[in-house]
Symmetry: C3
Subunit: 360 residues, 3 copies
């Protein structure tokens, strides 16, 4: 069984990465070349000439068409060959694969599987990333690990106490109980910490936005959307100010500060991935400097994870077949992996298959 | 089926590379140590001591014999052991393999296959490289690709329009028809472009040598000699000056300028090769500066190919089993590969085999 | 058959390398983390968390316990888990493997095999390294070769003539006969060179310590202790001063200078090793400067071997299956390899096996 499903939308690039130029990237083991057309849309083609395999990204973009850099074959935005050197008749089979593309929530989403199943309504929900009620920004990181290790990492935030002790972690996180729920595509881990001391990061945010210092009620509501997207509702409010939900009552967060950590991870190979993230907030919306500070601050925190994740992948590579052991804290990540395995299992069971020119 | 025949002469070094010193090089997957003897001849031995495998090239040359750098075993120029430490009797089986060598046309040619078949008359014809009627020089490049990709590249010069647009390429090359002929060891691609604008390189040459500016008749006559040598007869003459052959008439090139691009490519491994080339001309013979300029100019052009060829090899490695598609322009390279495959096929069909100590 | 036995003491570190901090090292293919406890003893644990495999050496040492750097699991000095985040009950199977450790002769010895067989009396004899009658010091070198190539190298010192001609080698070594004896765990090569010119190294030592210049009687008595330790008794005395043993008489070395080259080599993987060595002398004991000079001088000599050994390993990797040929000089190393093979053979024949979490 592979490690990722193909019939899914994966973030292939941040919106700003794709300009009117040839932009190569490997996703799900497939070498792809992307480019922005003059109509603003994005095309994604297999990055390999039909003739002699040279990466098309080595050529040039000319009038929304791709010219191969070796013998000059030309492909249109749908991947069909429109010119061959020294011959007038063009072989009708001469084309490279074209991938469905959707631009949404500031990402360019590509569907590496069966194009007939590529329903734009299935793009994961990361709307906070371009919602005017929220402000924020993010980055892409290339991480040398199985994308699922990042999902594990995000589904269990007790590691904050040990990996991120100087910013967002303290022992309250490791001690507070969490509740896990799940559906067919979603799994949610909810943790409320009542009347706790805020960690350095949140102490700074609530002091800045609400001029408040003191004990807080803190929440982390982690929502996984299969196969590779996690939106985390995080924040703190003055202790006892009503933020904690009670029964069916949602709680009043108006005196607190709220952020969303948006994460979508795209396998590059079985052992490497593209990690797209953003941090959005619902306070101090107009402060560009704060947006910049938060993005760089979160980047620093994620770099601490990156070191751990790559060391973990290397340890796994050195011990093929060595199983993971599970603790109570792993309930959320175990559900995420179960939902992913279900998607992969469905694909391998006699679903309609398509010819893939995948890279090794 | 392997990618190269063994019963063939391969250029192992440029003449100036081999001095009275141990010179290691891998050809056809075989680690070889070469050295010039005091009689001016060149010896080529297996580069691995019979005793403990240390590369002999780590030792030293002493009186036309090789002394191993570990335990001091001595081998003569034919590879026979003539000294062992702390013992008087020398094991008669103690020897390393010796390879047939011929020096011709400024190259040191080595025969990696069955020595009994090593006929010096079969050395490929690159006589322009030391013919007083021609002047020129060349280089060796190490290229990380299957040697046949370079043959493909040279057998179809339409790529000049797309890879070498600033020097020797223009659309005339991609548009002009070519004619392919072949024999048992040779394949020839002939392209005449009549009354065309010369590309920058040739415009400069004919202006320099003949003080001529204007339209030209241009020719490219590519002759492949199996398994790995290509001599290309190239040049331009004033349009209509009689250079174009007519029927059996060879044409009068006396008002033009003529060069030969000499190429012989030696597999190092299945995926890397040594590319030996030279550019010789029949005009301005005494101008050393021109020789220098042409060699460096051609080196720059070939570097453009090198980038494409290595990217192509990498694309192939990423897509094992992915076939090439062929266009009309590939007729010449397809013949070259057929002649190579024929040589390889003959070797694998019950020909006399020899023990090879080949490297992985 | 593997290349090394597991039921043996291997030097894992020089005493000074292991402090009160987490110190990772791979021995016999096993990733191990060592640390010095507050009682001065050394613990050696498997360097991989039971939970998610992260190397424990990425965490921190706290009160003689190891805290994992990802989720904070704590292990005591015996490898048993004593804390798990967010849960009170600790899985009784939660532990990492602990290795027997002995500190002796300035090395930390680890037993990678069955702990029940780890008898401290079997630690190899390198007592010169902390005997007050001897003075000296040494180093650890990481060498990219099978550890047995170093044993071969040390069991046959004729190579000194060809590899170390500027220091300890001259033709006398290659010409003098040697005698090989062996037992179940030991093999000894004895070479006496009578009335010879001393090589530069020994000429310097005997002039410095005994104010003597002139011909010497020289000895090299190489004692191998399976699987990976070699102590070499080396020295020179004025020619004819009685150092040469006669029949059962041990000889009188009192006018000479005597050193011991101590060597113990620990496989890291099949193709890399840790080479621990020291040079001890019985003269000029109080001269710190001489200790320093000798250590650096010997380090320079061993570096000449390192270059040869790594080239030899590379040559072997390029020629899988290519056998070594043996000369008379190889008698000692052949016995050493036979004793090693005997140990490996015993382990693979239905000896009690233990679960190993070995790295690839």
């Amino acid at each position: 069984m592979g490690s990722f499903p193909l019939n899914a939308w994966y973030a292939a690039a941040y919106d700003v990465e794709v300009r009117q130029a040839l932009f190569p990237r490997t996703i799900c083991g497939l070498k792809i070349v992307m480019f922005r057309r003059s109509d603003g849309g994005v095309s994604a083609l297999e990055d390999s000439c039909w003739h002699r395999l040279l990466p098309l990204s080595r050529g040039r973009l000319e009038n929304d068409q791709v010219v191969c850099g070796y013998h000059g074959l030309v492909y249109n935005a749908e991947g069909r060959c429109t010119f061959m050197p020294s011959q007038e008749t063009i072989n009708p089979s001469a084309c490279v694969r074209s991938f469905p593309v959707v631009q949404k929530h500031r990402f360019v989403w590509v569907w590496p599987g069966d194009p007939a199943l590529a329903d734009p309504a299935k793009v994961p929900d990361l709307h906070w990333n371009d919602d005017p009620a929220w402000a924020g920004d993010g980055k892409r990181i290339h991480v040398k690990c199985d994308y699922r290790l990042i999902l594990d990492n995000l589904m269990d935030l007790t590691h904050e106490a040990f990996v991120h002790g100087t910013s967002i972690g303290n022992h309250a996180v490791a001690e507070a109980p969490s509740v896990v729920t799940h559906g067919n595509r979603f799994a949610t881990v909810t943790r409320w910490m009542s009347d706790v001391q805020p960690p350095p990061f949140w102490a700074g945010q609530i002091r800045h936005a609400r001029a408040y210092t003191g004990q807080v009620d803190r929440w982390q509501i982690i929502r996984f959307e299969a196969p590779a997207t996690i939106a985390i509702d995080v924040g703190v409010a003055p202790a006892g100010s009503g933020a904690v939900p009670s029964g069916d009552e949602p709680g009043d967060r108006s005196q607190g500060v709220n952020g969303y950590v948006l994460n979508t991870i795209t396998p590059e190979t079985d052992r490497t991935c593209h990690y797209f993230w953003a941090f959005c907030r619902n306070y101090s919306l107009g402060e560009q400097r704060l947006t910049h500070e938060l993005r760089e601050g979160v980047a620093g925190i994620f770099h601490e994870d990156e070191i751990v994740l790559e060391a973990q992948q290397q340890a796994m590579d050195e011990r093929p077949g060595q199983p993971f052991q599970n603790l109570n804290i792993d309930a959320g990540s175990m559900w995420a992996r179960r939902l992913i395995d279900h998607m992969i299992g469905k694909e391998s069971q006699g679903q309609r298959t398509i010819p893939l020119r995948s890279v090794a």
